[in-house]
């Protein structure tokens, strides 16, 4: 019988508890154990960024994060961005700039961008590029994504005023 470990944490603002398998990564734990399917599996080695989530407001790669290390921490996934049909300015901007094609990288891109804009609502283009440097997109060529994040930053600044 595999010994499971109880992990309690906050997921998208809600107190959450689930059992983690020994050595289970945070990505599998969120998807299989908790049912949040927004972070994606891409590479399993921290290279592609499709699994990016925020832990205590910082971007982390869920596939190379031990699930148990999430205990007592605040986790946010792309599921936190929209409120029903009301989308986050980042999501609207991705739509307007055609920054998603196949869409597989998009949840990770959104969370990497969200972490940047919360820390720095007025980023330079180079800072946006660095913020998504760990997120691979094979469709868009990145320029629409960078444009979308820069455009969304204006909304973030307006909402901060």
């Amino acid at each position: 019988m595999m010994k499971k470990t109880p992990v309690t944490f906050t997921l998208n603002g809600r107190p959450t508890a689930a059992f983690a398998d020994p050595g289970e990564n945070l990505l599998d734990f969120l998807r299989r154990g908790v049912g949040d399917m927004t972070p994606k599996y891409g590479c399993g080695q921290g290279t592609c960024g499709a699994c990016t989530v925020l832990i205590d407001n910082e971007p982390h790669l869920a596939c190379i994060t031990l699930a148990e290390s999430a205990a007592d921490r605040e986790i946010r996934t792309a599921d936190c961005l929209s409120d029903g049909p009301s989308l986050d300015p980042l999501q609207n901007s991705f739509i307007e700039h055609f920054a998603a094609q196949c869409g597989y990288c998009t949840p990770g891109m959104l969370m990497a961008a969200r972490a940047l804009l919360e820390r720095n609502p007025n980023p330079r283009r180079e800072e946006v590029i660095d913020a998504i440097a760990g997120n691979i997109c094979r469709c868009t060529g990145y320029e629409p994504i960078v444009d979308a994040i820069l455009d969304a930053s204006r909304s973030y600044r307006r909402s901060a005023i």
Partner: protein, 262 residues
């Protein structure tokens, strides 16, 4: 069957390391192994000891706790000189997890931050209270690391650059760090280190010897550039062949030493 054992202190974790177990800090290396089957791995050993994340500066002697992350270093206002080396370690998601201690164990072609520590002549402090020069530590890479320490470099005499073929982030074709000493007019006791040019980061003694007493200009470093790959057999991997690494090493060494952008 794999198990995870968590201890409150590094000392307790060290007591419970046994064959088939591995110590985990940020997880960026260990979790890849777990995700790809964890063959032969019986236990992950962890500690929740938050003191391992400390960064201290006592009279110019800087100590980085083994759990200090690359992001911690980038956020520290007095560690600007280490910024390029910390930035060389992955994107933000990796830098928020990757630790100083873990980087010491990173396999080829990773370990860029360790290259900087080599050029700084760091000492590695282990959980049993002993301390060893980093060059000695890298020969075996065994033991639990508590911290690393080194003397703060003067002015702009510490330099680092990473050479990659994938922009803005990718594994190293090579990385180079140099500490150029502080004698006016000529170089003395320069320390030069390479990453991705062997099985582990290394000091480049032939270059260091050639730099002794040399002036820091194109003519003065010519002999060091000729020695750039003396005695080295760089590995061939998906990023670059051994031949390519040997060809580009003198070019990038010259650029680093002379502060050239290209």
């Amino acid at each position: 069957m794999l198990e995870v054992r968590t201890y409150p202190t590094l000392a307790e974790a060290a007591e419970n390391i046994d064959p088939g177990s591995v110590f985990m800090s940020g997880g960026t290396l260990v979790m890849i192994r777990v995700n790809y089957g964890a063959h032969g791995l019986k236990a992950i050993i962890r500690t929740t000891d938050s003191t391992l994340r400390r960064i201290d500066d006592e009279a110019g002697r800087i100590t980085l706790g083994a759990f200090a992350t690359m992001s911690d270093i980038l956020a520290h206002r007095d560690l600007d000189f280490l910024g390029p080396a910390a930035m060389a370690v992955g994107g933000p998601g990796v830098r928020n997890a990757a630790t100083v201690g873990g980087n010491l164990f990173a396999p080829h072609p990773y370990g860029d931050f360790t290259v900087a520590l080599l050029a700084l002549d760091a000492r590695v402090h282990l959980s049993d209270g002993s301390a060893v020069p980093i060059e000695d530590f890298l020969r075996n890479r065994s033991g639990l690391v508590e911290s690393v320490s080194f003397q703060r470099p003067f002015g702009d005499l510490f330099r680092f650059r990473k050479i990659g073929r994938i922009k803005p982030k990718g594994a190293s074709v090579m990385s180079i760090a140099a500490h150029l000493g502080n004698s006016p007019g000529y170089l003395s006791n320069a320390r030069v280190a390479y990453g991705a040019m062997g099985s582990a980061p290394m000091r480049v003694r032939a270059v260091e010897r050639a730099l002794e007493g040399a002036a820091l200009n194109r003519h003065g470093i010519a002999s060091a550039i000729e020695s750039a790959t003396e005695g080295l057999e760089p590995p061939t991997d998906e990023l670059a062949s051994s031949w390519y690494r040997r060809e580009v090493a003198p070019v990038h060494l010259r650029r680093l030493l002379l502060g050239e952008d290209r």
